[in-house]
Symmetry: C2
Subunit: 229 residues, 2 copies
DNA sequence: GTCTATAGACGGATAGAC
DNA sequence: GTCTATCCGTCTATAGAC
């Protein structure tokens, strides 16, 4: 919030710097805490199903405080979506267009699987938003995700032309990567019910990651050396 | 509703058979119509976010009529989940355990893609329910989906032992099939935003289906003849 | 079976004391 | 910045006339 801090500082210049920092830190800490609780509640109930009262209760704050930091439920939700996208974007950059397909695709799949394991609730919020029509995410999808995708589509087509990848629609490959990696976060309740275990152990998750990498790399026929077999 | 019809018939035996059939048909027609509208609203807003008022409004009925046919919102939701599962089960049977892996897996993937195209809202309701914890689906997952999965896990392991499939965890393959095929229903809003088109044409959907079949068949290394290369 | 009216709880958001 | 009290709308579900 640097853009909001400067006008406030201009008005309250009599307050010692230490107190100003402390107040700013309180704000950041409360906002961060509310965003974390909101992530859980929006994941569990979707946008319309979530209530600000429940988010505030989880955060241990009165509902009015939530509305002090975020004027509306939608503003809180939007901030959360932007925060989730920023991590999506970090993982997306591990799809290095300079690399060989095996390295680029394998690295991206591993990064997505790690993100699903580390922050499954964020994946669920994203999935719910898209399932429910993505009306609060059009700008992110069109302005951020689509440009990223367009560059990768070009790279994949080059790999195919060089014989490093089987002939395929690049979009179908990217959708497969997203669908499979996010499945381990979004559908964890189903995985648990079908496996009979409460949650995947660290080892089981590593094994699943290798399975996914193998299935996808083999599926798209990726190889590091040029030329068909 | 045959189990509900017999006691009613015993009490109303004075009414001509034609009128009895007509009333029964009215009930079935209203229930079916309400279920279809409920499917759309639950898909758009999730269980907690959906309101019986909106479902009734879409159905062109007063809210009280909805509660006449389905005593509670949860009862309506449960009926819908069971109906959705019955179509899931029909598609699941196209994974024929007597077939070669290419035929069985290819046929199952095509059936799942066709279901995603024909009834995307049902897929979204299922996905939302699982994302939100699957608390209303534990019996279906454990009692119906798990037994189906167990039989297929055994068949897949046999194919691997016969060299008809690459060595892999059967569960990872099944999760991939579900994740990718359902992605085309659940994430249609994202696909539309990224492709710039309002909806996938019939031809585009057929092409996507073939892409998914190829990626998955190649990914699991399925071949009809026994023995490794 | 259908519908209007309403009970009673809970939703988002705000006023105003501290 | 924090919190209590409250506005007003919508929620699920039901009562009871037709």
């Amino acid at each position: 919030m640097p853009s909001a801090e400067s006008p406030i500082a201009a008005v309250t210049h009599a307050i010692p710097p230490a107190a100003r920092r402390s107040k700013a830190q309180t704000r950041i800490s409360n906002e961060t805490h509310l965003l974390a609780c909101a992530e859980a509640v929006f994941a569990e109930r979707g946008f319309e199903g979530a209530s600000t009262a429940l988010i505030a209760q989880r955060a241990g704050l009165p509902k009015a405080n939530l509305h002090y930091y975020f004027p509306t439920k939608l503003a809180l939700y939007r901030r959360l979506l932007e925060d989730i996208f920023s991590e999506w974007h970090t993982a997306a950059n591990s799809f290095d267009i300079a690399d060989d397909p095996v390295v680029a695709i394998g690295g991206y799949v591993r990064a997505k699987m790690a993100l699903s394991q580390r922050r499954p609730l964020a994946s669920k919020v994203w999935a719910s938003e898209i399932i429910q029509g993505a009306e609060h995410m059009q700008d992110i999808l069109v302005g951020q995700v689509k440009p990223w995708m367009d560059t990768r589509v070009r790279v994949i087509n080059n790999w195919i032309a060089q014989g490093k990848l089987a002939p395929l629609q690049p979009q179908a490959l990217l959708y497969m990567i997203w669908a499979v990696t996010q499945h381990y976060a979004d559908f964890d309740a189903q995985i648990h019910a079908l496996s009979g275990k409460r949650s995947m152990s660290k080892k089981a998750y590593e094994a699943a990651t290798e399975q996914v990498v193998e299935l996808i790399i083999r599926g798209c026929g990726a190889r590091s050396q040029a030329g068909p077999p």
